[in-house]
Every structure is written in C-alpha cells, then in structure tokens.
C-alpha cells in the first residue's frame, strides 16, 4: 500500500515536474525576455519550514472551524447550496489548496534534505578511503624499514682475520689505515678485500697441487699397467708348473690359498684348522679340512682394530646393548634382533670330512664303499663358543630301515661322544648372563639352527671353560692336539657303529637277525624262536612300560638314549624285549628288559628265569661282542634272546605226566633242566658239544 502511495506521489511529482518545464518552455516561447518564471523550488528556498508548519496549523484550524460551521448550519436546517454553506465550502476549498501546496513543499524539502545528506556522506567516504590508503602506505614503509634494518650481509659469516693481524699483514694499499682507522665500515670493507685476496692466492695454490696430484696419479697408472701386464705371464708360469706340482704331489697352490683364507678365521677355528690339518697330514690321510663361507665378509669383520682383542669388543658390545636397553623399553622385535645378534656366527666355518673306510665284516654288514662324515664347525662370535653340525653321506641308499631314522640324525649322532657330553647347553658360563639380558632361556632351543656346542668341540678349538671341577689350564694348542686323535677315533667309531646299526636294523625289520660267521659258534644251529617285530619307541613310551621299572629306577634310561621294542615269537609264546640303546653303543651295551606272554603275563620282575635271560644278554655280553669293535653286539644279543626263549619254552614242562603232545618238544640238549633254589634253566650254550648248561 505504502509503495502504491509512493508511486502515486512520484507520478504526481513527476507530472508536476514534467509539467513545469513544459510550462516554462511554453511560456518561454511566449515571452523569453520576461524572467518572471515561477519555480516552486525557488519558492521553497525562500520559505521557512517553521512558517509553513505554522501556516499548516492555521489552515487546519480554520478548516476545522469552517467544517464545524457547515455542520452547525446543516444541523440548523440550512439547505444544500445555500450561500452561507457555499461560501464556507469555497473557503475550505481554498484551505485544501493551501494544504496541498504545503504537502508538496514538505515532500520537496524532504527530498532535498535526503540529497544533501547523501552528498555529505559520499564526501566522508572519500575522505575515509584516503585515510586508509595513507595508513597502509605507512605500514608498508615501516615494514620496509624493519626489513632493511634486519638485513644481514654475507660478510658477517666469513671468518675474518683479527684486526691487529689484518693491519700487520695486509699491504698498505688494501688496509689504508688513515682511512679505515676511524671508519668501521671502511675497515670492514678493507678486511673483506684482504680476505678475498688471500682466498684467491689459496685457490691458486690448490689448483697447482691438483695438477701435481694428477701428474703423480698418471705415473702410478702407468706403473700399474706395467705390473698388470706382468700378471698373465706369471699365471702362465704357474699354470705350467701345475703338472709338476701334481706330479710331485705337492699341492702348494691349494694349501697356499687355504692358509690365505685361514688368516681370517677366528682364533679357535684357526687352532682347529691347524691341528686338524696337522693331524690329517701326520696320521690320517682320510681326514680333509676345508674352509667354507664368505671370505670378504670375514675380512670386513676383521678390519676394525678392536676385533683383534676379543674381550674388549665383547664388553663394548655389551655396553652398547645396555645403553640401547636403557634408552628404549624393550619390545619383542628389538629383543629378537638382539638375540639374533648375540647368536651370530662367524661368516667362515670349517668343514672336516672324515672318510670311514668300509668295515670288513662279513655277511649282511658289507660296507665296501666308504661313507663320509661331514663335520661343520661354527664359531659364535658373541658367545665365544664353537658348535658343530654333522652330516653323513653314503654312496648307498640308507632309507630302508624305518626304525633307524634316529641313528644318523644330526641331532643325536654325536650325542655323548664323551660321557655326559650332550651338547645341549652352552659350556661357557659367561653365556648365562648374556642370555639373561636378551631373554634366552636355554641354548637348547637354538641347537637345531646353530649346531651343538659339545665340550669336545671347544677342546678341539682350544677353548677352555672352567667347569664344576677345577682343572689345570693347558696351553691352547696342546689342548687341542691332545684331544684331536682320540676325538677323531671316537668320531669314526661312532659313525661306523651307527652305520652298522643302520644296516642291522634294515634286516631286523624284516625279521632277519644277521649273524656273522665269526659269531656263528655262539648259537645252536637250530633256533625256532623268531624275531617278529622290531620298532623304535620313544622315551616316554618306554617309561610307560610296566616291566622296565627297575631300569628307570636305577637311572639307566636316560633321555639321550634310543629306545626300541623287539618281539620274539614262538608258537603261542610272545616275548617282548624293551631295549635301551646308549648313544655310545657299542662301548655301552644295550640293555634288555623282558616280558613274556605265555600262559599269562610274566616279566623279569616276577619270573626268575626271565630275569636270568635278561642277565644272559645284558651281563654276559662280552662273549657276544664278536670281532672288534663289537658292532654285532646288538644282533647277537637278540639272537641269544631267541635261543634263550627256546630253552625257556622247551624246559618248561614241569610235569612229564601231562597228557597229550607238548607244545614245545624238547630239542635242546641240557645237562640239567633246573638248578639252584630259584630253579634256573640252563641258558648257557656250549659251543662244540652243543649242549646247554648253567652259568
């Protein structure tokens, strides 16, 4: 509505305005010269708004009075159009005209006021903008000033000679003391000049040195070329000399190479290398030594000087470890790294190849081909111990016997080479503390990966650790030498016995007991009991057997031993034999425990005769050993077991009057079937006569 009214007003104003120029023109056309032009705007200038307001009030008042008079007249019954009323209407019309004019004037005045305000505002704005510009300029300038103030010249970083030195050394034309004494700026400039001068001189000198160096290098190059041109010639000579070396069986070159590499071996491996070489040359042609591993890595390792002293480097490493430990709380990964570092072995290792000549025993135990025992010796740098891994290679296939699986296993092959030397724990007492630091519980967990730290290995390497019993310290090399021969002999014996067992087991699994010709006289020609089964059992299975309690109680069933179960059968009788086989077999003989199931269950505990059979194979075994070194002991023991079972069964008829045929007719000749208070049967076989008697 308001907008409507505004429009109306505008149109009105426009009309009036539009009208006026027309009027002006129209009038202007009429009388140009006459300047009496009416202009409301001009009139407006001449009027006073207060007067207008006064006039407005008067007009309204007189209008109201006139209206009141009209009303009164009308009320008094005056007729429409009567003069009085008409007069008054005229008067009020005039008043209305007056009001209209006043209104128009008020509008014009308002407009003008607005315009004026706008104009003033614009002026203020311009001024404000100017002010802003100026302020910005001021700020910029200030920034520039501060930037300038903060400017750092490069020369401040240049290390200049001291002032006194400068005056002393610099020539006059640079120092110009009369000018620079008072002016620090000039002084600095002069000093910089001097610096530049000096540097120029040095650069010149550098260039000269470079040139001489190049010259020398060139001459070296030339000399080198000359030397390398000699190499092929020398090689050719060496090559030519090889046949001669071979012909004279003096492998100089190879040994030279080996000794060259051997220089990088850690001390203990070096001792072993030298001793093994010496022993091999002096006593044992079937022993060969070689060095394997990365020589460059070993060289790199031996470079740092502190490595020459083992102890210091060790303690250094420990300190470092301690530091790192203190700095960071240990997490699993770090510990793993540290463990790996601690168990690190030297990049070089020794390989001893021990050829075992065929054992000259007959029948089924033929070893025409030699088999080779490979021993790999490692040195654990941080633990300062040596370990050994083994491998046996044979030319024939040995995978036939299942129960023999453990025999040539690297883990058990060399177990207890010397009494109680199981090679599962580290022999170096210091290692225990090292292990504590990185959380290794036992070295045994790492044996699989690193090899066994047997005591004899340490001795071969000249490493001696104090054990429980105080020992006299021996000189390093003689220590190794004193062990070499006996150890090599033991190793060879061990491998031979294991290989022999391997062959024997293969036939035992096929229920054949191999008896060599030398041992034939130990058994009668006719043995009816047969080996029915031969299997390997675990230590736990052995411990669970009910008839071996006396063995376990006597502490004769150790975890390092191997365990087997043999079953001998004849007719309805079934004899179980649990066997403990020491790793040191045949030096330590196998131990049999028996259980017979025939007319009920009997064992060596409840039956004196079975006990006697046990002692027949366990105690009286010396006659069963066969040719030295007694590799046939086990098979002979089993064979004797069969014979004893025959005797046991055949002599068991207590009552001759039992009706019907006996299950086991008596075929063996016996002097006396029973003897002694415990009525033992005659288990001893007397060879040429072929009868059985008592012990």
């Amino acid at each position: 509505m308001s907008s409507d009214t505004l429009k109306k007003r505008k149109t009105k104003v426009l009309r009036s305005e539009g009208g006026t120029p027309e009027m002006k023109r129209g009038r202007g056309e009429g009388d140009q010269q006459d300047v009496r032009v009416y202009s409301e705007e001009v009139e407006l200038d001449g009027r006073d708004p207060d007067q207008d307001y006064e006039q407005f009030k008067q007009t309204c008042e007189s209008l109201a009075k006139l209206m009141g008079e009209i009303y009164e007249l009308k009320a008094n019954g005056a007729k429409d159009g009567c003069t009085e009323v008409e007069q008054r209407r005229m008067q009020s019309c005039i008043h209305f005209m007056n009001l209209k004019k006043l209104n128009r004037l008020a509008h014009m005045r308002l407009k003008r006021g607005r315009d004026q305000t706008h104009e003033a505002k614009q002026r203020v704005d311009v001024l404000h903008l100017q002010l802003q510009n100026l302020l910005y300029e001021v700020m910029h300038l200030q920034k520039e000033i501060s930037k300038c103030l903060e400017f750092k010249s490069k020369h401040e970083e240049i290390d200049l000679v001291s002032e006194a030195e400068f005056y002393q050394e610099a020539p006059q034309d640079i120092s110009r003391p009369q000018l620079t004494k008072d002016d620090p700026h000039q002084l600095t400039l002069a000093r910089l000049d001097w610096e530049l001068e000096q540097r120029k001189r040095l650069a010149e000198k550098y260039r000269e040195s470079q040139a001489t160096k190049e010259k020398i290098q060139k001459s070296i190059e030339v000399k080198k070329e000359h030397l390398s041109s000699l190499q092929p010639g020398l090689n050719a000579i060496m090559q030519a000399s090889l046949p001669v070396q071979e012909y004279l069986s003096m492998p100089f070159e190879q040994t030279q190479k080996q000794t060259e590499i051997a220089r990088h071996l850690p001390p203990s491996l070096y001792v072993l290398f030298v001793q093994a070489n010496a022993y091999g040359q002096a006593c044992d042609r079937n022993l060969s030594v070689s060095i394997i591993g990365d020589v460059d890595e070993a060289k790199a390792l031996s470079k740092p000087p502190e490595d020459s002293q083992d102890d210091e480097s060790d303690s250094d490493a420990e300190e470092e470890q301690e530091k790192t430990k203190r700095r960071r709380p240990t997490t699993g990964g770090q510990l793993d790294d540290k463990r790996r570092e601690m168990l690190k072995r030297h990049p070089l290792s020794l390989c001893l190849d021990l050829k075992c000549k065929g054992i000259n025993n007959a029948i089924t135990l033929l070893f025409a081909d030699g088999s080779v025992l490979h021993l790999y010796f490692y040195y654990l740098m941080n633990l300062n111990i040596m370990t050994v891994k083994t491998k046996v290679s044979t030319s024939t296939d040995l995978n036939t016997a299942i129960s023999a699986g453990e025999l040539l296993n690297s883990d058990t092959l060399l177990s207890c080479l010397y009494t109680n030397d199981q090679g599962r724990e580290t022999p170096n007492p210091a290692n225990r503390y090292q292990f504590d630091k990185v959380g290794i519980v036992s070295f045994a967990d790492y044996v699989e990966e690193l090899g066994h730290p047997y005591l004899w290995v340490q001795s071969l390497g000249g490493l001696q650790f104090p054990s429980d019993a105080p020992e006299v310290c021996v000189d390093m090399t003689s220590l190794s030498a004193s062990h070499m021969e006996s150890t090599i002999k033991l190793l060879r014996g061990r491998v031979q016995s294991r290989l022999a067992l391997h062959k024997q087991f293969a036939s035992l699994e096929h229920s054949i007991i191999p008896v060599s010709a030398e041992c034939q006289h130990l058994f009668p020609a006719k043995v009816i009991s047969r080996l029915a089964r031969w299997t390997t059992i675990t230590h736990q299975e052995y411990m669970d057997l009910h008839f071996v309690r006396h063995v376990t109680e006597a502490g004769l069933a150790k975890e390092t031993d191997l365990y087997f179960m043999g079953v001998v059968e004849r007719g309805t009788a079934r004899l179980q034999a649990a066997v403990v086989l020491s790793p040191r077999y045949p030096e330590i003989s196998p131990l049999f425990s028996l259980s017979l199931s025939w007319k009920g269950e009997r064992s060596g505990r409840s039956d004196d005769n079975l006990r006697a059979m046990e002692s027949e194979v366990n105690v009286f075994k010396n006659e069963l050993q066969g040719p030295r070194p007694g590799h046939q002991l086990l098979t002979n023991q089993i064979a004797r077991l069969c014979v004893c079972l025959d005797v046991y069964l055949e002599t068991d008829g207590q009552d001759d009057s039992v009706e019907g045929p006996r299950e086991f007719p008596r075929e063996k000749m016996c002097l006396r079937t029973v003897r002694g208070p415990n009525r033992l049967k005659p288990f001893k076989y007397n060879h040429p006569q072929g009868f059985f008697s008592h012990r």
């Binding site: 006396h550 004769l556 004196d608 006990r611 366990n618 207590q654 003897r675 208070p677 012990r695």
Partner: protein, 340 residues
C-alpha cells in the same frame, strides 16, 4: 692252597671294580643265594650269583649313628666262579660251596681284612660237579649234597670223605640233620624226602611228598626245595605246598596254602617263617594258618637267616633276586636294607 678266583672268564672284569655303583647292570641282575652269620654274630656274609661273598658289619649297620656307608659291605671278594648256593659258619670258619668246590675262609682273617688286605686263607678243592648244600654235624663232619645225586659225608679234620649216601635220582636241594636221632634228611629235585641213618649210611624212609593229594600241586611240579626239622617235626615244600609233617607217623599234619614255591623255611618260636616266590616273608602258625605276609624289597626271595649267635644283634635277614638284603629287627616290618 689254590686261589679260587683264578678263573679267566669275564667275571674277573666285573669283579675287579665291582660295586662302586659303576656297574649298574651287574647290580641290576644280581641274586643273593645264601647268607651266614659269623660265630660272634656281629657280621653277616652273603653270597650272590656272581660267586662273590660280601661281608657286612651288623654292629655298625644297627648302631644308632649308622649311615648309608654302613649298609655297604666292608669286604667283597670273589670266592667261586659260578653262583654260591650255600654258606655255612663253623666255630672259626666260613664255608662256601660253589660250582664243584668248597672253600673255607677263616672268620678271624675275614674280620681282620676289614683293616688289612684281602687275602684268601684256605680252600679245599672237591671233585664234585656241583654242590647244592652243606650242613654240619656234631662230630665235625660236613655233609654235602651234590649234583651227582649223592650225599657225601666229609671229615673236616682229615679233609677226606667218609661215606657216600646213594638213593636220590635227581640232584639234592636241601639237607637237614636230626642230631639226637643221628639222622640226615634230604630233599631233592626228584620230589622225595629221604631219611638216612648217619651210622649205617642207609636210607631209612623215603617220603614222596607229591604223591600225597593234600600237598601235591601238579601245576608247579614235584621237587622239594626246602626242608627243616625240629625234634619230631619236619617242614618241607617246593613244588608241593609247604607242609608240616609228624616224623614218627610220617604223615602231613598241616598244609600251608601259600602261593608260589617256598625256598626256605624255618621254625621260630611257635611260628614258621618262610620265603619263596613273591616279595614277602610269610609268618605261618603251626596249625596251618598264614598269619602275616611282610613285604620285602626283592621280587622273589631265596634265603632267610636268623641271627641266633648274638643277642644284641638278633635280626632276621632275607635275600633274593636283588642286590639288597632286607634286615628285620622286628619281625613285623623291614627295618633297612644292606646292599652289595
């Protein structure tokens, strides 16, 4: 004097460094066959299946401050090549019967050897194949039951054999003497108990125990392995059940229902003590009841001995298929074990 242990067999190896705990195997398979107390009652000699005789000091083993060591032999020596089935003490000597020979050892020397060297005193070689048992009678003669199925009577003073008693058809397990009647009783593998007259050397009676239904145990056999007498009473057993016989009527009066074969039995006060198969000493009443069975270390027992020579060391010792000899200071429980 011939040295007994000159046998060349492997025994010597076992015996040279025998019982230092090194040869567990030999210990594991050891059996004790016989024991005998010294005349003074302070020592016990025990023999095993390896032909060794060990001497134990009862006085030190029984003393309050006894240690492990006092339960070990103070002396061990090899007396014979084969097992020693019988030991017997006379007033001054220890007699041991081995495979075909009887040796005599002076007790005085043996005891002295504790402090000195091990030296064998005297021995006399016999021509028998096997000696199973020997027994001493009043007139200083030794009665030997042999493997030749005969009983030999030897004069200990002269060292020669006075007479031979023929009759048994298999070898003789056990002998007993009735001093007052001048009778010798013998039991053997043939299952017969024979009663001999000492003076005439004739067999007076022959009881075939296995033929008596109340005693017979055909599942075991017929042999007689233990025999002992006390005035008019005889105790015998083996394959047949252990039974108490009245000798004048020659009839079994009570039968003891014990499992297994009995190997040695003895009268003790109003009781019978007996050992055999099975790890226990059985106490039986004369009436035939089994009063108690006292457990022992060995799995089966061969020998039992009561020390009557000394009142302060009055013990019962039993040995069997083990290297341990159990000692009973009180009959109702095992006190400790001596061991080889």
């Amino acid at each position: 004097n011939k040295k007994n242990c000159s046998g060349t067999s492997h025994f010597s190896k076992w015996v040279t460094c025998p019982f230092k705990g090194r040869h567990g195997l030999a210990l594991l398979h050891m059996s004790v066959f016989s024991q005998s107390f010294s005349p003074c009652g302070r020592f016990l000699a025990a023999a095993n299946n390896y032909g060794e005789i060990a001497l134990f000091s009862l006085s030190s083993a029984l003393s309050p401050d006894a240690t492990e060591l006092s339960q070990k032999p103070i002396l061990t020596f090899t007396a014979h090549e084969g097992p020693v089935f019988c030991l017997l003490s006379t007033d001054s000597q220890l007699l041991s019967a081995g495979n075909g020979e009887i040796s005599a050892w002076s007790w005085a020397e043996l005891i002295k050897k504790v402090m000195g060297r091990g030296k064998i005193l005297s021995s006399c070689l016999m021509t028998l194949l096997l000696v199973s048992l020997c027994c001493l009678s009043q007139d200083n003669s030794l009665i030997v039951g042999g493997g030749d199925n005969n009983i030999h009577v030897m004069d200990l003073e002269q060292g020669n054999f006075k007479s031979v008693l023929h009759g048994h058809t298999d070898y003789i397990h056990c002998l007993s003497i009735r001093e007052r009647e001048g009778e010798i009783l013998s039991g053997g593998e043939d299952g017969a108990v024979r009663i001999w007259d000492c003076r005439t050397g004739q067999s007076v009676h022959c009881i075939e125990v296995y033929k008596y239904e109340s005693c017979a145990r055909p599942q075991y056999g017929k042999w007689i392995s233990c025999l002992t007498t006390d005035s008019d009473w005889m105790l015998c057993g083996g394959g047949p059940s252990l039974s108490l016989w009245h000798l004048r009527s020659l009839s079994p009066t009570s039968i003891f229902s014990l499992p297994g074969c009995q190997r040695q039995a003895t009268f003790y006060q109003d009781m019978i003590l007996t050992v055999g198969e099975g790890p226990c000493v059985s106490h039986c009443l004369l009436g035939g009841d089994v009063k108690a069975q006292i457990p022992c270390t060995p799995q089966s027992l061969n020998t039992l001995a009561l020390n009557t020579n000394s009142t302060e060391h009055r013990v019962l010792t039993v040995g069997g298929s083990s290297d341990h000899i159990d000692v009973f200071t009180n009959l109702s429980y095992r006190a400790f074990s001596l061991s080889f």
